[in-house]
Each structure stands twice: as structure tokens, then as C-alpha cells.
């Protein structure tokens, strides 16, 4: 009796069970790939990891990566927040075109993006030339890294911010206006605080995306080396043994920072 009941139970839930099994394969794939590398590195080659952590070239590359991606994120936030708000609140001719343009960097190969950026920002081009007149050079410089990261990471910020603004009922802003708040005040007092979680998670996503960029960056700035470029360089010259410790170090630092940001934003929210 009991087995029969259990059997019908399995049958009743067969779709969910099969989906659960198939779905867990994908999760397993991600976990296994990363865990395999991290675990092997820590257990079988602790020395190599410590060596990498003490290597100034590695540390410089990681710091540069985090810093450049941070700058790119700040620029994305400054320019992307107003854009996201306009897209969330207004309908206009060609809006779908604008929205598609925002998503283009996500769908084109990043080496292609790198070539395009290089063509635009090299000193011999009009745009790059204009910048070099005021002392900003992109080829093989930090600014080259920043524009490459900005190009690929901006969509992540803009889309998250737009979703955040869309989730706020415009009536809240309207009520604020009737209570004497100007447009700016109601944005600052109502819209921004209510969407801050979306903006923050968008920024974290953009930052992470910037850190992981490789293809676009090497086209415009092989030097100074950011961590992904250094990892690639060490891989081609020293093989897996030379590059894996840096990769593990980068991944551990990133995971650490993301956990920190996540918990701090949760704590911050609770406090309010």
C-alpha cells in the first residue's frame, strides 16, 4: 500500500523531479569547474598560491583590475542612471532602438569590441587625437582599460537601474510633487532611495563584468597588464602551473569582495 502511494507520488511529481535532476547538472558543471581548480590549487600547490600572492606583478595586476573596473562602474553610474530613468519613465520614438543599442555590447564578440574601441580611441583617430591633446591617451594605458571595461559593463548597470526605476510606481513621485517637492527633490527623496538596491546590484554586476573583461582590453591596452591579461600571458609562457595560481587568487579575492558587498548591503537594508 505504502509503496504504491509513494509510486503515485513519484509519478505525480515526475516533471519536477526530472527537471530538478537535469537542472542540477548545470549547477554541478559550474561548481565542479571552479571548485576543481580552487581545491587542487589550495590542496596540492599551496606554495604556488602563496608565491603568486607575494608576487608584486600579480598584486599590481589585480589591484589595477579592481581599480579600473571600479572607475568604469562609476562612469557607467554617472552616465547610466539618467539614461535608465528616462527609459523607465518615458516613451518616445525610437525607444526600442535605443534599448537595443544598450544591449549591443553584450552580444558582440569582445575582441570585435576591442578592435572598434581601438580604432576610435587610438591617438591617430580624431576622437583619440582630441583626448591626447588634453593628455588622455588610451593605447596601452589605464584609460584604455577603463573604456574597454565601460563598453562591456555599462549594459549591466543601465538595465538593472532601469528595472529598478520601473519597479517604482510613478504615482509616488506624483504625490511627492503635490506635497511640494520639485522634480529633482522627488527624484532624490523618493525615487533614488527606493531604487538604491537595484542601482547597487547593477553596479556590482557591472564591476564584476569589468573585472572579467579580457578580449576588449588586450586590443587596446595589453600593458599595463590587468589580471586576466597576466593570466593569459603566464599561461602562454609558463603553462597551467604558472597561470592557475593567479587565476585562483583573483577568483578568491573577487568572491570575497562580492560576499562582503552582499552582506553589507543586506545589513544596510535591515537598518533602514
Amino acid at each position: 500500500m505504502a509503496t504504491k502511494k509513494a509510486l503515485t507520488g513519484v509519478k505525480r511529481h515526475s516533471l519536477s523531479l526530472i527537471f530538478l535532476f537535469v537542472g542540477s547538472l548545470l549547477i554541478l558543471f559550474t561548481i565542479l569547474t571552479l571548485f576543481n581548480m580552487i581545491f587542487r590549487q589550495i590542496v596540492f600547490d599551496t606554495e604556488g598560491l602563496l608565491e603568486a600572492a607575494a608576487d608584486p606583478e600579480v598584486i599590481d595586476a589585480i589591484v589595477l583590475t579592481l581599480y579600473c573596473s571600479f572607475l568604469a562602474t562609476v562612469i557607467a553610474a554617472i552616465l547610466g542612471t539618467p539614461l535608465a530613468y528616462v527609459l523607465a519613465r518615458h516613451d518616445f520614438l525610437g525607444k526600442t532602438v535605443v534599448e537595443s543599442v544598450i544591449d549591443v555590447p553584450v552580444v558582440i564578440p569582445h575582441s570585435v569590441a576591442g578592435i572598434a574601441l581601438y580604432a576610435l580611441f587610438m591617438s591617430r583617430s580624431p576622437v583619440g587625437g582630441a583626448f591626447s591633446n588634453i593628455g588622455v591617451v588610451f593605447e596601452d594605458s589605464m584609460w584604455g582599460i577603463v573604456v574597454a571595461m565601460l563598453f562591456v559593463s555599462a549594459p549591466f548597470y543601465v538595465n538593472a537601474a532601469r528595472e529598478g526605476f520601473q519597479s517604482i510606481n510613478p504615482r509616488l513621485e506624483r504625490v511627492a510633487r503635490t506635497l511640494g517637492a520639485s522634480q529633482w527633490k522627488s527624484f532624490y527623496k523618493i525615487t533614488l532611495p527606493l531604487s538604491v538596491r537595484h542601482l547597487f546590484s547593477g553596479a556590482v554586476m557591472a564591476w564584476a563584468r569589468g573585472i572579467s573583461e579580457f578580449g576588449a582590453v588586450i586590443m587596446i591596452a595589453f600593458y599595463p597588464m590587468i589580471a586576466p591579461v597576466l593570466i593569459f600571458y603566464r599561461f602562454t609562457t609558463h603553462g597551467l602551473a604558472g597561470s592557475q595560481p593567479i587565476a585562483v587568487l583573483l577568483i578568491l579575492i573577487c568572491i570575497g569582495i562580492f560576499i562582503l558587498l552582499r552582506t553589507s548591503s543586506k545589513y544596510w537594508e535591515k537598518k533602514r
Partner: protein, 349 residues
């Protein structure tokens, strides 16, 4: 006083066509219309979120058509209350005063005063998401009233509430209006709400203001058949309760008395009787109906398959063609209109 002069505006799925009306100082004006997207847009236009394509809006004689919402001093309460979810009740109520940059002590005093008068002081540290619909509505009202608005706009203020809360808030709205006398424009599709609260009613249909009148006239003398269909061709008679014995109320209408069931004890009331609940007879009926009122037929009009018989006693009845023929009903004929006490609906005026 606020005046709309020939206001026209078009939205994607609604338009206002040449809307003109005036609301006097201290008046409670209700815009009554079928459920549709449009009524909120009228209020949003008055509040200043849309500049009408043509026409003018005047506040105390001053043209405010192009003045931004924050400079109009018009309070707004949305149907969904639209409380700021990241602020507690007290911060919500204080928002408008803070925008005026009033000194802290003054803000505090005014906020406490309005919260006390609305009976929401005990909620002051709660977040809106933890409040019931009725509580949110009180907070939204307090938030808009604390700035002492020139005009208060109410967008279907009671329709999202359960019936019991609705009744108590309707009384509350009435009380607030009596105490503060704030000029109010209130949109609704609910006729009870309109009759209970309105000084005057404007009926809006398809973006056009089709009738502006005192409540009982809108219900008794709708100017178009469309309005009649919408308001449900009710008999509405004004009267005053003169006694209540064990729930049986006697209402004096000036011309005659009506017996009804109600727990109202005294005061001015609107008496509703649906025409289909009135029985016409040539002689006074010996029946269980508690009301039998004589009158002369003043008019007979056809409404589809039925006829509406109007009498000079302010009542009208719905009858079939057969009944007209059998009773020989015609204009000038004396008849008795009988109806049960249970068929009457009383609403406090």
C-alpha cells in the same frame, strides 16, 4: 474655488472633451462615472501632471494651467494610497511640511495634531507595508491634509476597501470635511458614496461632463437615458428621520411619511426606492407593504420593454405594458404607490 474652462486633452486610450465646471470653496464635488481609465486623468490634470491641450484651469481666479504641481497646493490621495514605502507613517505625514522647510518643532506639532485627529498616532513608527487598507487610507489623507491644501483631490478613495471599513471611512471623510471644510474633488463610480458625500455631482461619460447637479436631481432627473441607465433609475427622496422604534424608522419627506428599516437614529437622509419595487394600484392596498402613498400620474415614458410611470409624489414605478392596459393608467390618473419597508435603502445625508 477652482474652475475648469473648456479643458480638452487626449491620452492614448482616453480623452477629455471640453470639460467645464466650477467647485466652490468648501464644497465636496463628486465626479461620478463608469469605471474606466479616465477619471484619474482628470484629477491628474487638475493637479498639474498634464497641461491640457486647450482650456484653462483657474484656482481662486488665478490661471494655474502652466504652474507645476508642487506650486499649486493641491492635495492628492490616490486609490492605492501611494504611501512612500521607505518612510514610516510619521515621516510620510511630515513629508509635505519638510518640503516647505518649516522649523522642526512646528513640523512635529502639526504632524502630531493631524495624526491625533485622524486617530493614527499609534501607527506613527510603522511602515506602510504593515498597515491595513483603512489605515493606509487614513495616513494618505493625513499626509495630504497636513499641508492645508487649497483643494483636495480624492481618487476612488473608498473603492479598494472592504465594505465595513468603507462605511466607517465614508463617515470619516464626512467628518473631516465638516471640520476642515477643505474644497474637495472626488471621483468615484460608487453611487452610494456620491449620495452620501457630495454637495454636487458631475456625471462624466466618455470624457464629457454630461450633467452637473445636486445629488438627488442627478438620480431623479438624469438628463440623458445614458445617465439614467448608469445611475440605475432609482427614486431618491430627501427626508428627515423623525423616529426609530426597534429599527423601524419613520422618515418625513415633507409631503408624506415613509416607513423603513434602518439603524440610523436621526438626521437628514436620502431615501432610495427602486422603481421596480413599487406596486401601483387604483385603490389603497390592504397588504403587508408598510407604505402606500397616493399621487397623480404626471408622465409615462417607455424604457425598452417596460414603462416608467412618474407621479407628482416624487416617486416613479416600473410597470409592463399589460399592467398599464389592465389598470388603465394614464396621465392625470390618481394611483397608490405601495412598497415594503424592506425595499427601502436609507443613506445619511
Amino acid at each position: 474655488m477652482i474652475t475648469l474652462e473648456n479643458v480638452s486633452h487626449e491620452w492614448d486610450d482616453f480623452s477629455l472633451k471640453n470639460v467645464s465646471f466650477s467647485v466652490n470653496k468648501g464644497e465636496h464635488f463628486i465626479i461620478l462615472g463608469p469605471t474606466a481609465a479616465g477619471k484619474t486623468l482628470i484629477l491628474e490634470t487638475i493637479a498639474g501632471f498634464y497641461v491640457p491641450r486647450t482650456g484653462k484651469i483657474l484656482l481662486n481666479g488665478k490661471d494655474i494651467t502652466h504652474i507645476p504641481p508642487e506650486k499649486r497646493n493641491i492635495g492628492f490621495v490616490y486609490q492605492d494610497y501611494s504611501l512612500f514605502p521607505h518612510m514610516n507613517v510619521k515621516e510620510n505625514v511630515a513629508f509635505g511640511l519638510k518640503m516647505q522647510k518649516l522649523p522642526k518643532t512646528e513640523v512635529e506639532a502639526k504632524v502630531q495634531e493631524i495624526m491625533d485627529s485622524m486617530g493614527i498616532s499609534y501607527l506613527q513608527n510603522r511602515l506602510p507595508s504593515t498597515l491595513s487598507g483603512g489605515e493606509q487610507q487614513r495616513v494618505a489623507l493625513a499626509r495630504s491634509l497636513v499641508i492645508d491644501p487649497e483643494i483636495l483631490l480624492l481618487d476612488e478613495p473608498l473603492s479598494a476597501l472592504d465594505p465595513r471599513t468603507r462605511e466607517s471611512l465614508r463617515e470619516e471623510l464626512k467628518r473631516i470635511h465638516e471640520v476642515r471644510n477643505t474644497t474637495t474633488i472626488h471621483v468615484t463610480h460608487d453611487q452610494d458614496e456620491a449620495l452620501a458625500l457630495a454637495d454636487r455631482i458631475g456625471v462624466i461619460m466618455d470624457g464629457e461632463l454630461v450633467q452637473v447637479d445636486e445629488p438627488y436631481r442627478v438620480f431623479n432627473e438624469p438628463v440623458t437615458e445614458e445617465i439614467a441607465t448608469f445611475v440605475g433609475v432609482e427614486n431618491v427622496i430627501q427626508g428627515k428621520i423623525i423616529s426609530n422604534e426597534d429599527g423601524v424608522v419613520v422618515v418625513d419627506t415633507g409631503k408624506y411619511q415613509i416607513r423603513a428599516l434602518s439603524n440610523l437614529q436621526k438626521g437628514e437622509v436620502n431615501v432610495f426606492i427602486r422603481p421596480e419595487n413599487i406596486i401601483l394600484s387604483k385603490g389603497k392596498l390592504e397588504s403587508s407593504a408598510r407604505n402606500s402613498i397616493s399621487g397623480k400620474i404626471s408622465r409615462i415614458s417607455q424604457l425598452g420593454a417596460t414603462f416608467r410611470i412618474y407621479m407628482n409624489n416624487d416617486l416613479s414605478a416600473l410597470v409592463t405594458k399589460q399592467a398599464i392596459e389592465e389598470l388603465g393608467l394614464k396621465v392625470g390618473e390618481k394611483v397608490y404607490a405601495s412598497f415594503k419597508a424592506t425595499a427601502i435603502h436609507l443613506i445619511k445625508r
